[in-house]
Protein backbone atom coordinates (compact mmCIF):
# COMPACT_ATOMS: atom_id res chain seq x y z
CA UNK A 1 0.00 0.00 0.00
CA UNK A 2 1.31 3.41 -0.92
CA UNK A 3 0.24 6.32 1.25
CA UNK A 4 0.76 9.93 0.26
CA UNK A 5 -0.22 13.07 2.14
CA UNK A 6 -0.25 16.46 0.44
CA UNK A 7 -0.31 19.75 2.32
CA UNK A 8 -1.97 18.03 5.25
CA UNK A 9 -3.21 20.25 8.07
CA UNK A 10 -5.22 19.46 11.18
CA UNK A 11 -6.26 22.14 13.60
CA UNK A 12 -8.26 21.91 16.83
CA UNK A 13 -10.19 24.49 18.73
CA UNK A 14 -9.51 24.40 22.45
CA UNK A 15 -11.63 27.12 24.00
CA UNK A 16 -10.87 30.38 22.26
CA UNK A 17 -7.48 29.24 20.92
CA UNK A 18 -6.68 27.28 17.78
CA UNK A 19 -4.04 24.56 17.87
CA UNK A 20 -2.37 23.35 14.71
CA UNK A 21 -1.40 19.75 15.47
CA UNK A 22 -0.32 18.94 11.90
CA UNK A 23 0.86 21.83 9.77
CA UNK A 24 1.04 21.56 5.97
CA UNK A 25 2.67 18.17 5.96
CA UNK A 26 3.82 16.45 2.77
CA UNK A 27 4.51 12.81 3.34
CA UNK A 28 4.94 9.63 1.35
CA UNK A 29 5.28 6.02 2.37
CA UNK A 30 6.20 3.37 -0.14
CA UNK A 31 5.18 -0.27 -0.11
CA UNK A 32 6.96 -2.63 2.27
CA UNK A 33 9.01 0.07 3.95
CA UNK A 34 9.44 0.79 7.64
CA UNK A 35 8.90 4.46 8.34
CA UNK A 36 9.54 6.08 11.70
CA UNK A 37 8.19 9.43 12.82
CA UNK A 38 9.90 10.83 15.87
CA UNK A 39 9.15 13.88 17.88
CA UNK A 40 8.48 15.10 21.41
CA UNK A 41 5.16 14.63 23.19
CA UNK A 42 2.47 16.90 21.79
CA UNK A 43 4.29 17.37 18.50
CA UNK A 44 1.33 15.93 16.56
CA UNK A 45 2.54 12.35 15.91
CA UNK A 46 -0.71 10.68 17.02
CA UNK A 47 -2.77 13.20 15.07
CA UNK A 48 -0.76 12.51 11.94
CA UNK A 49 -1.14 8.74 12.37
CA UNK A 50 -4.87 9.10 12.93
CA UNK A 51 -5.11 11.04 9.69
CA UNK A 52 -3.02 8.50 7.78
CA UNK A 53 -5.06 5.67 9.28
CA UNK A 54 -8.32 7.33 8.14
CA UNK A 55 -9.44 7.61 11.74
CA UNK A 56 -9.68 11.39 11.47
CA UNK A 57 -10.38 13.99 8.82
CA UNK A 58 -7.84 16.70 7.89
CA UNK A 59 -8.78 20.34 8.19
CA UNK A 60 -7.15 20.84 4.79
CA UNK A 61 -4.92 18.89 2.45
CA UNK A 62 -5.37 15.41 1.06
CA UNK A 63 -4.39 11.83 1.69
CA UNK A 64 -4.02 9.43 -1.21
CA UNK A 65 -4.00 5.67 -0.80
CA UNK A 66 -2.72 3.95 -3.94
CA UNK A 67 -3.49 7.20 -5.76
CA UNK A 68 -7.11 7.29 -4.53
CA UNK A 69 -8.14 10.56 -2.91
CA UNK A 70 -9.51 9.45 0.47
CA UNK A 71 -11.43 12.69 0.97
CA UNK A 72 -13.83 11.43 -1.67
CA UNK A 73 -14.49 8.19 0.17
CA UNK A 74 -17.61 7.58 2.25
CA UNK A 75 -17.34 6.64 5.91
CA UNK A 76 -18.24 3.06 5.02
CA UNK A 77 -15.42 2.81 2.46
CA UNK A 78 -12.90 4.33 4.89
CA UNK A 79 -14.01 1.77 7.45
CA UNK A 80 -13.51 -1.02 4.91
CA UNK A 81 -9.98 0.15 4.17
CA UNK A 82 -9.23 0.14 7.91
CA UNK A 83 -10.67 -3.32 8.28
CA UNK A 84 -9.19 -5.07 5.27
CA UNK A 85 -5.98 -3.18 4.51
CA UNK A 86 -4.74 -1.55 7.70
CA UNK A 87 -3.75 -2.74 11.14
CA UNK A 88 -3.42 -0.55 14.20
CA UNK A 89 -1.15 -0.86 17.24
CA UNK A 90 -1.79 1.62 20.03
CA UNK A 91 0.43 2.73 22.88
CA UNK A 92 -2.18 1.49 25.35
CA UNK A 93 -2.89 -1.70 23.33
CA UNK A 94 -6.66 -1.11 23.22
CA UNK A 95 -7.54 -4.77 23.55
CA UNK A 96 -11.15 -5.53 24.43
CA UNK A 97 -10.97 -6.49 28.10
CA UNK A 98 -13.81 -9.02 28.07
CA UNK A 99 -12.32 -11.06 25.20
CA UNK A 100 -9.46 -13.55 25.42
CA UNK A 101 -6.25 -13.04 23.47
CA UNK A 102 -7.56 -15.45 20.85
CA UNK A 103 -10.93 -13.67 20.57
CA UNK A 104 -9.23 -10.27 20.30
CA UNK A 105 -7.24 -11.53 17.31
CA UNK A 106 -10.31 -13.21 15.82
CA UNK A 107 -12.37 -10.02 16.04
CA UNK A 108 -11.16 -8.27 12.82
CA UNK A 109 -11.56 -11.55 10.92
CA UNK A 110 -15.05 -11.96 12.32
CA UNK A 111 -15.88 -8.42 11.17
CA UNK A 112 -14.46 -9.28 7.76
CA UNK A 113 -16.88 -12.21 7.54
CA UNK A 114 -14.36 -15.04 7.68
CA UNK A 115 -15.50 -18.47 8.81
CA UNK A 116 -15.18 -19.46 12.44
CA UNK A 117 -12.72 -22.22 11.52
CA UNK A 118 -10.54 -19.89 9.49
CA UNK A 119 -10.62 -17.28 12.25
CA UNK A 120 -9.58 -19.79 14.88
CA UNK A 121 -6.77 -21.37 12.87
CA UNK A 122 -5.30 -18.06 11.79
CA UNK A 123 -5.60 -16.45 15.23
CA UNK A 124 -3.79 -19.39 16.82
CA UNK A 125 -1.06 -19.20 14.18
CA UNK A 126 -0.61 -15.45 14.61
CA UNK A 127 -0.44 -15.70 18.37
CA UNK A 128 2.09 -18.50 18.10
CA UNK A 129 4.13 -16.34 15.71
CA UNK A 130 4.27 -13.54 18.29
CA UNK A 131 5.25 -16.04 21.00
CA UNK A 132 1.90 -16.34 22.77
CA UNK A 133 0.93 -19.88 21.84
CA UNK A 134 0.48 -20.68 25.51
CA UNK A 135 -1.61 -17.59 26.34
CA UNK A 136 -4.48 -18.06 23.90
CA UNK A 137 -7.28 -18.13 26.45
CA UNK A 138 -6.00 -15.42 28.77
CA UNK A 139 -7.84 -12.16 29.02
CA UNK A 140 -5.85 -8.89 28.74
CA UNK A 141 -5.76 -8.33 32.51
CA UNK A 142 -4.07 -11.74 32.87
CA UNK A 143 -1.30 -10.78 30.46
CA UNK A 144 1.84 -8.68 30.97
CA UNK A 145 2.00 -5.39 29.08
CA UNK A 146 4.51 -6.87 26.64
CA UNK A 147 2.17 -9.76 25.98
CA UNK A 148 -0.74 -7.37 25.49
CA UNK A 149 1.21 -5.47 22.86
CA UNK A 150 2.03 -8.75 21.10
CA UNK A 151 -1.66 -9.60 21.03
CA UNK A 152 -2.35 -6.14 19.57
CA UNK A 153 0.27 -6.77 16.86
CA UNK A 154 -1.28 -10.17 16.09
CA UNK A 155 -4.68 -8.47 15.84
CA UNK A 156 -3.22 -5.88 13.45
CA UNK A 157 -2.10 -8.71 11.16
CA UNK A 158 -5.37 -10.65 11.32
CA UNK A 159 -6.74 -9.56 7.95
CA UNK A 160 -3.29 -9.62 6.26
CA UNK A 161 -3.04 -5.86 6.53
CA UNK A 162 -0.89 -4.13 3.95
CA UNK A 163 0.10 -1.47 6.44
CA UNK A 164 0.54 -1.41 10.20
CA UNK A 165 0.21 1.96 11.87
CA UNK A 166 1.79 1.86 15.32
CA UNK A 167 1.41 4.81 17.64
CA UNK A 168 4.13 4.69 20.32
CA UNK A 169 4.03 0.86 20.47
CA UNK A 170 6.88 0.76 23.02
CA UNK A 171 5.73 3.76 25.06
CA UNK A 172 4.43 1.65 27.95
CA UNK A 173 7.12 -1.04 27.84
CA UNK A 174 10.42 -1.61 29.64
CA UNK A 175 13.54 -1.51 27.44
CA UNK A 176 13.89 -5.28 27.10
CA UNK A 177 10.27 -5.79 26.07
CA UNK A 178 10.45 -2.71 23.84
CA UNK A 179 13.39 -4.25 22.02
CA UNK A 180 11.41 -7.44 21.48
CA UNK A 181 8.43 -5.55 20.10
CA UNK A 182 10.61 -3.52 17.75
CA UNK A 183 12.22 -6.75 16.57
CA UNK A 184 8.79 -8.20 15.97
CA UNK A 185 7.62 -5.21 13.90
CA UNK A 186 10.91 -5.25 11.98
CA UNK A 187 10.49 -8.98 11.20
CA UNK A 188 6.88 -8.42 10.07
CA UNK A 189 8.06 -5.65 7.75
CA UNK A 190 10.88 -7.70 6.28
CA UNK A 191 9.22 -11.13 6.10
CA UNK A 192 5.65 -10.21 5.18
CA UNK A 193 6.53 -7.11 3.20
CA UNK A 194 4.03 -5.20 5.32
CA UNK A 195 4.39 -1.45 5.32
CA UNK A 196 4.99 -0.22 8.86
CA UNK A 197 4.58 3.35 10.06
CA UNK A 198 5.68 3.96 13.62
CA UNK A 199 5.43 7.06 15.73
CA UNK A 200 7.96 6.75 18.51
CA UNK A 201 10.56 8.14 20.87
CA UNK A 202 12.50 4.92 20.71
CA UNK A 203 16.06 5.22 19.43
CA UNK A 204 16.17 1.56 18.41
CA UNK A 205 13.40 1.98 15.84
CA UNK A 206 15.25 4.96 14.42
CA UNK A 207 18.20 2.66 13.77
CA UNK A 208 16.19 0.09 11.79
CA UNK A 209 13.80 2.43 9.93
CA UNK A 210 14.10 2.76 6.15
CA UNK A 211 12.79 6.30 6.34
CA UNK A 212 12.94 8.65 9.27
CA UNK A 213 10.90 11.80 9.79
CA UNK A 214 10.93 14.22 12.68
CA UNK A 215 7.81 16.08 13.66
CA UNK A 216 8.08 19.22 15.74
CA UNK A 217 5.13 21.57 16.34
CA UNK A 218 3.20 19.92 13.55
CA UNK A 219 5.96 20.42 10.98
CA UNK A 220 7.42 17.29 9.40
CA UNK A 221 11.00 16.99 8.23
CA UNK A 222 12.62 14.11 6.37
CA UNK A 223 15.84 12.99 8.10
CA UNK A 224 16.83 10.09 5.90
Amino acid sequence: MKIKAVDLTRTYRVGPSKITAVDKVDFEVNKATLTAIVGPSGSGKSTLLNLLGLNDYPTSGKIFIDNTDTSLLSGRKRRKIRLFRMGFVFQTFNLLPTLTALENVELPMSLAGKSQKEQREKAVRLLENVGLGDRLYHRPKELSIGEMQRVAIARALANDSEVIIADEPTGELDSKTAKEIIGLLFDINRERKTTVIIATHDEKIVEVADTLYTLIDGKLRLEH
Binding site: Y12, S46, T47, N50, G53, N55, D56, G75, R76, R79, K80, I81, R82, L83, F84, M86, F88, F90, T92, N94, L96, P97, L107, P108, L111, R155, D167
Partner: protein
Protein backbone atom coordinates in the same frame (compact mmCIF):
# COMPACT_ATOMS: atom_id res chain seq x y z
CA UNK B 1 -56.64 -9.99 39.96
CA UNK B 2 -58.03 -12.35 42.58
CA UNK B 3 -60.71 -9.82 43.57
CA UNK B 4 -61.79 -9.23 39.99
CA UNK B 5 -62.04 -13.02 39.66
CA UNK B 6 -64.22 -13.18 42.74
CA UNK B 7 -66.37 -10.31 41.47
CA UNK B 8 -66.88 -12.04 38.13
CA UNK B 9 -67.70 -15.31 39.91
CA UNK B 10 -70.57 -13.68 41.78
CA UNK B 11 -72.58 -13.81 38.60
CA UNK B 12 -71.71 -17.46 38.11
CA UNK B 13 -73.24 -18.23 41.49
CA UNK B 14 -76.50 -16.40 40.78
CA UNK B 15 -76.60 -17.16 37.08
CA UNK B 16 -80.02 -16.88 35.44
CA UNK B 17 -81.58 -15.20 38.44
CA UNK B 18 -82.74 -11.72 39.34
CA UNK B 19 -81.16 -10.42 42.53
CA UNK B 20 -83.31 -8.29 44.77
CA UNK B 21 -81.40 -5.97 47.10
CA UNK B 22 -82.33 -2.95 49.16
CA UNK B 23 -82.07 0.45 47.48
CA UNK B 24 -79.93 1.56 50.43
CA UNK B 25 -77.39 -1.24 50.14
CA UNK B 26 -73.89 -0.74 48.81
CA UNK B 27 -73.53 -3.58 46.36
CA UNK B 28 -70.85 -5.18 44.24
CA UNK B 29 -72.60 -7.14 41.53
CA UNK B 30 -75.68 -7.47 43.75
CA UNK B 31 -73.68 -8.71 46.72
CA UNK B 32 -74.42 -6.22 49.53
CA UNK B 33 -71.20 -5.30 51.24
CA UNK B 34 -72.82 -2.75 53.56
CA UNK B 35 -76.33 -1.92 54.81
CA UNK B 36 -79.61 -2.82 53.16
CA UNK B 37 -81.32 -5.44 55.30
CA UNK B 38 -84.98 -6.21 54.82
CA UNK B 39 -87.51 -8.68 56.15
CA UNK B 40 -87.18 -12.28 55.08
CA UNK B 41 -90.94 -12.40 54.53
CA UNK B 42 -90.48 -10.22 51.44
CA UNK B 43 -89.38 -13.34 49.57
CA UNK B 44 -92.72 -14.96 50.31
CA UNK B 45 -94.61 -11.79 49.27
CA UNK B 46 -92.76 -11.67 45.96
CA UNK B 47 -93.47 -15.32 45.32
CA UNK B 48 -97.16 -14.94 46.07
CA UNK B 49 -97.87 -11.61 44.38
CA UNK B 50 -95.79 -11.72 41.21
CA UNK B 51 -96.84 -14.30 38.70
CA UNK B 52 -93.50 -14.26 36.80
CA UNK B 53 -91.71 -15.72 39.86
CA UNK B 54 -90.99 -19.42 40.01
CA UNK B 55 -88.90 -19.30 43.16
CA UNK B 56 -87.69 -16.62 45.58
CA UNK B 57 -84.88 -17.55 47.96
CA UNK B 58 -83.89 -15.25 50.84
CA UNK B 59 -80.15 -15.11 51.48
CA UNK B 60 -78.13 -13.51 54.26
CA UNK B 61 -74.69 -12.71 52.90
CA UNK B 62 -72.14 -11.53 55.48
CA UNK B 63 -68.51 -10.50 55.17
CA UNK B 64 -67.07 -10.91 58.65
CA UNK B 65 -64.10 -8.72 59.44
CA UNK B 66 -63.27 -10.54 62.66
CA UNK B 67 -62.71 -14.18 62.13
CA UNK B 68 -60.85 -16.66 64.35
CA UNK B 69 -59.86 -13.57 66.34
CA UNK B 70 -57.90 -12.15 63.41
CA UNK B 71 -58.82 -8.79 61.90
CA UNK B 72 -58.82 -8.88 58.13
CA UNK B 73 -57.73 -5.79 56.22
CA UNK B 74 -59.96 -6.77 53.33
CA UNK B 75 -62.96 -9.10 53.45
CA UNK B 76 -61.86 -12.46 52.13
CA UNK B 77 -64.11 -14.76 54.14
CA UNK B 78 -67.84 -14.87 53.64
CA UNK B 79 -70.81 -16.43 55.36
CA UNK B 80 -73.94 -17.29 53.45
CA UNK B 81 -77.16 -18.22 55.14
CA UNK B 82 -79.63 -19.98 52.80
CA UNK B 83 -82.81 -21.95 53.55
CA UNK B 84 -81.64 -25.54 53.46
CA UNK B 85 -84.23 -26.67 50.92
CA UNK B 86 -83.01 -24.01 48.44
CA UNK B 87 -79.27 -24.57 48.59
CA UNK B 88 -79.06 -26.19 45.19
CA UNK B 89 -80.49 -23.04 43.63
CA UNK B 90 -77.50 -21.05 44.86
CA UNK B 91 -74.53 -23.41 44.86
CA UNK B 92 -75.73 -25.76 42.13
CA UNK B 93 -74.47 -29.33 42.15
CA UNK B 94 -71.33 -28.53 44.15
CA UNK B 95 -70.29 -31.78 45.87
CA UNK B 96 -68.55 -32.30 49.18
CA UNK B 97 -64.84 -33.09 49.09
CA UNK B 98 -64.20 -36.82 48.96
CA UNK B 99 -67.91 -37.40 49.41
CA UNK B 100 -67.28 -37.12 53.15
CA UNK B 101 -69.87 -35.56 55.48
CA UNK B 102 -73.29 -34.09 54.74
CA UNK B 103 -75.01 -30.77 54.10
CA UNK B 104 -76.72 -29.30 57.20
CA UNK B 105 -80.35 -30.18 57.65
CA UNK B 106 -83.26 -27.96 58.51
CA UNK B 107 -83.19 -29.21 62.06
CA UNK B 108 -79.53 -28.38 62.49
CA UNK B 109 -78.73 -25.30 64.52
CA UNK B 110 -74.97 -25.53 64.58
CA UNK B 111 -73.88 -27.33 61.37
CA UNK B 112 -72.05 -25.66 58.48
CA UNK B 113 -70.13 -26.60 55.34
CA UNK B 114 -67.01 -24.68 54.44
CA UNK B 115 -64.87 -23.84 51.42
CA UNK B 116 -61.73 -25.91 50.78
CA UNK B 117 -59.41 -22.91 51.05
CA UNK B 118 -60.73 -22.07 54.52
CA UNK B 119 -60.43 -25.73 55.51
CA UNK B 120 -56.79 -25.85 54.35
CA UNK B 121 -55.89 -22.56 56.00
CA UNK B 122 -57.26 -23.39 59.43
CA UNK B 123 -56.83 -27.12 59.18
CA UNK B 124 -60.55 -27.63 59.61
CA UNK B 125 -61.85 -31.08 58.87
CA UNK B 126 -65.28 -32.69 58.93
CA UNK B 127 -66.39 -32.97 62.54
CA UNK B 128 -64.24 -30.06 63.69
CA UNK B 129 -65.78 -27.49 66.02
CA UNK B 130 -65.14 -23.89 64.90
CA UNK B 131 -65.88 -20.46 66.34
CA UNK B 132 -67.68 -17.83 64.27
CA UNK B 133 -68.81 -14.62 65.97
CA UNK B 134 -68.62 -16.32 69.34
CA UNK B 135 -70.77 -19.29 68.28
CA UNK B 136 -69.57 -22.87 68.26
CA UNK B 137 -70.33 -24.51 64.92
CA UNK B 138 -69.72 -27.99 63.58
CA UNK B 139 -68.13 -28.57 60.17
CA UNK B 140 -70.16 -31.26 58.40
CA UNK B 141 -68.51 -31.04 55.00
CA UNK B 142 -65.91 -29.32 52.82
CA UNK B 143 -67.07 -27.95 49.46
CA UNK B 144 -65.28 -29.31 46.42
CA UNK B 145 -65.31 -26.29 44.12
CA UNK B 146 -62.98 -24.16 42.05
CA UNK B 147 -64.97 -20.96 42.63
CA UNK B 148 -62.86 -18.60 44.76
CA UNK B 149 -66.00 -17.19 46.43
CA UNK B 150 -67.26 -20.58 47.62
CA UNK B 151 -63.73 -21.62 48.57
CA UNK B 152 -63.66 -18.85 51.17
CA UNK B 153 -67.27 -19.27 52.25
CA UNK B 154 -69.03 -20.73 55.29
CA UNK B 155 -72.42 -22.01 54.16
CA UNK B 156 -75.06 -22.43 56.80
CA UNK B 157 -78.83 -22.61 57.17
CA UNK B 158 -80.49 -19.20 57.03
CA UNK B 159 -81.79 -19.45 60.60
CA UNK B 160 -78.31 -20.16 61.94
CA UNK B 161 -76.78 -17.24 60.01
CA UNK B 162 -79.50 -14.89 61.32
CA UNK B 163 -78.80 -16.11 64.83
CA UNK B 164 -75.02 -15.82 64.90
CA UNK B 165 -75.00 -12.42 63.17
CA UNK B 166 -77.98 -11.20 65.21
CA UNK B 167 -80.08 -10.46 62.13
CA UNK B 168 -83.28 -12.06 63.23
CA UNK B 169 -85.68 -12.67 60.32
CA UNK B 170 -83.61 -10.36 58.15
CA UNK B 171 -81.86 -10.97 54.87
CA UNK B 172 -80.01 -8.79 52.39
CA UNK B 173 -80.56 -10.67 49.12
CA UNK B 174 -83.52 -12.37 47.54
CA UNK B 175 -82.55 -14.55 44.63
CA UNK B 176 -85.50 -14.79 42.28
CA UNK B 177 -85.85 -17.34 39.51
CA UNK B 178 -88.22 -16.40 36.66
CA UNK B 179 -90.84 -18.77 35.35
CA UNK B 180 -90.25 -20.49 32.03
CA UNK B 181 -90.52 -18.02 29.14
CA UNK B 182 -90.18 -14.90 31.27
CA UNK B 183 -87.09 -12.78 30.73
CA UNK B 184 -85.02 -11.42 33.63
CA UNK B 185 -85.85 -7.88 32.50
CA UNK B 186 -89.61 -8.50 32.66
CA UNK B 187 -89.30 -10.09 36.07
CA UNK B 188 -87.11 -7.26 37.38
CA UNK B 189 -89.63 -4.64 36.16
CA UNK B 190 -92.47 -6.52 37.82
CA UNK B 191 -90.63 -6.75 41.15
CA UNK B 192 -89.66 -3.07 41.16
CA UNK B 193 -93.25 -2.05 40.41
CA UNK B 194 -94.52 -4.18 43.26
CA UNK B 195 -91.90 -3.32 45.89
CA UNK B 196 -90.77 0.28 46.17
CA UNK B 197 -87.64 0.05 48.31
CA UNK B 198 -85.68 -2.56 46.38
CA UNK B 199 -83.59 -2.86 43.25
CA UNK B 200 -84.13 -5.93 41.14
CA UNK B 201 -80.99 -6.55 39.19
CA UNK B 202 -80.71 -8.73 36.13
CA UNK B 203 -77.48 -10.45 35.19
CA UNK B 204 -76.70 -7.76 32.58
CA UNK B 205 -77.42 -4.95 35.03
CA UNK B 206 -75.14 -6.56 37.58
CA UNK B 207 -72.38 -6.73 35.01
CA UNK B 208 -73.04 -3.13 33.96
CA UNK B 209 -72.78 -2.02 37.60
CA UNK B 210 -69.30 -3.44 37.97
CA UNK B 211 -68.10 -2.42 34.52
CA UNK B 212 -67.26 1.21 35.44
CA UNK B 213 -65.28 -0.01 38.44
CA UNK B 214 -63.38 -2.53 36.33
CA UNK B 215 -62.86 0.11 33.64
CA UNK B 216 -61.51 2.51 36.24
CA UNK B 217 -59.16 -0.16 37.55
CA UNK B 218 -58.05 -0.77 33.96
CA UNK B 219 -57.47 2.97 33.43
CA UNK B 220 -55.39 3.14 36.58
CA UNK B 221 -53.44 0.09 35.48
CA UNK B 222 -52.70 1.60 32.09
CA UNK B 223 -51.71 4.94 33.66
CA UNK B 224 -49.37 3.29 36.13
CA UNK B 225 -47.94 1.08 33.40
CA UNK B 226 -47.31 4.12 31.20
CA UNK B 227 -45.50 5.98 33.98
CA UNK B 228 -43.44 2.87 34.78
CA UNK B 229 -42.70 2.39 31.07
CA UNK B 230 -41.40 5.97 30.69
CA UNK B 231 -39.41 5.83 33.92
CA UNK B 232 -37.91 2.47 32.96
CA UNK B 233 -37.04 3.81 29.55
CA UNK B 234 -35.20 6.78 31.05
CA UNK B 235 -33.50 4.55 33.60
CA UNK B 236 -32.35 1.99 31.02
CA UNK B 237 -31.16 4.78 28.76
CA UNK B 238 -29.21 6.51 31.54
CA UNK B 239 -27.60 3.32 32.77
CA UNK B 240 -26.68 2.25 29.24
CA UNK B 241 -25.25 5.68 28.39
CA UNK B 242 -23.09 5.46 31.53
CA UNK B 243 -22.02 1.94 30.62
CA UNK B 244 -21.16 3.00 27.05
CA UNK B 245 -19.32 6.03 28.33
CA UNK B 246 -17.16 3.82 30.57
CA UNK B 247 -16.29 1.69 27.55
CA UNK B 248 -15.81 4.49 25.06
CA UNK B 249 -12.25 3.33 24.38
CA UNK B 250 -13.54 -0.16 23.44
CA UNK B 251 -16.13 1.24 21.05
CA UNK B 252 -13.59 3.65 19.59
CA UNK B 253 -11.22 0.71 19.09
CA UNK B 254 -13.94 -1.18 17.27
CA UNK B 255 -14.39 1.84 15.01
CA UNK B 256 -10.61 2.11 14.48
CA UNK B 257 -10.28 -1.50 13.36
CA UNK B 258 -13.12 -0.97 10.90
CA UNK B 259 -16.21 -2.42 12.60
CA UNK B 260 -19.32 -1.39 10.64
CA UNK B 261 -21.65 1.04 12.42
CA UNK B 262 -24.43 -1.56 12.24
CA UNK B 263 -22.22 -4.02 14.13
CA UNK B 264 -21.61 -1.55 16.98
CA UNK B 265 -25.29 -0.61 17.03
CA UNK B 266 -26.42 -4.23 17.16
CA UNK B 267 -23.86 -4.98 19.87
CA UNK B 268 -25.37 -2.37 22.21
CA UNK B 269 -28.97 -3.31 21.40
CA UNK B 270 -28.19 -6.99 21.93
CA UNK B 271 -26.60 -6.16 25.26
CA UNK B 272 -29.63 -4.17 26.44
CA UNK B 273 -31.97 -6.87 25.10
CA UNK B 274 -30.11 -9.50 27.11
CA UNK B 275 -30.37 -7.29 30.19
CA UNK B 276 -34.09 -7.07 29.38
CA UNK B 277 -34.44 -10.84 29.14
CA UNK B 278 -32.66 -11.39 32.44
CA UNK B 279 -34.47 -8.46 34.07
CA UNK B 280 -37.80 -9.73 32.73
CA UNK B 281 -37.30 -13.22 34.13
CA UNK B 282 -36.10 -11.95 37.50
CA UNK B 283 -38.80 -9.26 37.56
CA UNK B 284 -41.57 -11.76 36.91
CA UNK B 285 -40.19 -14.17 39.51
CA UNK B 286 -39.78 -11.54 42.23
CA UNK B 287 -42.88 -9.59 41.19
CA UNK B 288 -45.08 -12.69 41.35
CA UNK B 289 -43.61 -13.59 44.72
CA UNK B 290 -44.25 -10.05 45.94
CA UNK B 291 -47.86 -10.27 44.70
CA UNK B 292 -48.32 -13.50 46.65
CA UNK B 293 -46.70 -12.09 49.78
CA UNK B 294 -48.86 -8.94 49.62
CA UNK B 295 -52.01 -11.00 49.02
CA UNK B 296 -51.09 -13.14 51.99
CA UNK B 297 -50.39 -10.12 54.20
CA UNK B 298 -53.65 -8.39 53.29
CA UNK B 299 -55.84 -11.44 53.64
CA UNK B 300 -54.15 -13.40 56.43
CA UNK B 301 -54.30 -16.42 54.17
CA UNK B 302 -51.04 -18.39 54.42
CA UNK B 303 -48.62 -17.84 51.55
CA UNK B 304 -48.51 -21.55 50.70
CA UNK B 305 -52.21 -21.48 49.83
CA UNK B 306 -51.63 -18.87 47.16
CA UNK B 307 -48.97 -20.83 45.29
CA UNK B 308 -51.42 -23.19 43.54
CA UNK B 309 -53.38 -20.16 42.32
CA UNK B 310 -50.36 -18.11 41.26
CA UNK B 311 -51.56 -18.14 37.65
CA UNK B 312 -54.86 -16.61 38.77
CA UNK B 313 -53.09 -13.84 40.67
CA UNK B 314 -50.56 -13.24 37.88
CA UNK B 315 -51.98 -14.89 34.74
CA UNK B 316 -49.48 -16.32 32.21
CA UNK B 317 -50.60 -13.83 29.58
CA UNK B 318 -49.67 -11.01 32.00
CA UNK B 319 -46.30 -12.64 32.60
CA UNK B 320 -45.71 -12.80 28.85
CA UNK B 321 -46.83 -9.17 28.44
CA UNK B 322 -44.51 -8.05 31.25
CA UNK B 323 -41.61 -10.03 29.82
CA UNK B 324 -42.06 -8.62 26.32
CA UNK B 325 -42.57 -5.10 27.69
CA UNK B 326 -39.32 -5.28 29.65
CA UNK B 327 -37.38 -6.54 26.61
CA UNK B 328 -38.95 -3.86 24.39
CA UNK B 329 -38.23 -1.13 26.99
CA UNK B 330 -34.61 -2.24 27.18
CA UNK B 331 -34.22 -2.38 23.39
CA UNK B 332 -35.84 1.02 22.91
CA UNK B 333 -33.85 2.44 25.84
CA UNK B 334 -30.68 1.18 24.14
CA UNK B 335 -31.25 3.02 20.86
CA UNK B 336 -29.82 6.41 21.86
CA UNK B 337 -26.80 4.90 23.67
CA UNK B 338 -26.25 2.63 20.65
CA UNK B 339 -26.21 5.64 18.33
CA UNK B 340 -23.83 7.30 20.79
CA UNK B 341 -21.55 4.24 20.67
CA UNK B 342 -21.37 4.36 16.87
CA UNK B 343 -20.10 7.93 17.10
CA UNK B 344 -17.05 7.15 19.23
CA UNK B 345 -13.85 7.88 17.32
CA UNK B 346 -10.42 6.74 18.40
CA UNK B 347 -8.84 10.12 17.62
CA UNK B 348 -11.23 11.90 19.97
CA UNK B 349 -11.00 9.28 22.71
CA UNK B 350 -7.20 9.23 22.67
CA UNK B 351 -7.09 13.02 22.55
CA UNK B 352 -9.34 13.14 25.61
CA UNK B 353 -7.18 10.56 27.42
CA UNK B 354 -3.82 12.13 26.75
Amino acid sequence: MRYTTVIKEMNVLFSGQVMVVSEKAIVIQAIPIAGGLFQESLAEDIKENIKEVEKAVPVLFMTPIRFEEMIQLVPVNFSMGIPVEDWQLIIGPTPLKGGVGHFPTNESNHEVVIGASLADQYNWTVGKEIMVNGHKLNVTGVLDTKLALLNRCILMPLRLAQEIYSKSRSVNIISVKPVQGCSQEELADAIEQQVEYVNALTEDERNDMIQPVLAQVETWNISIQTVIFIMSLILVMTVTIMSISERRRDFATLDAIGAPLSYVFRLVILETALIGVLGGILGIAFGSLAALVLSSLYTNIPLAQFFPSIFEIVPPIYMLEIFLSVVVVCCVGGIIPAIDATRMRIAEVLKAEY
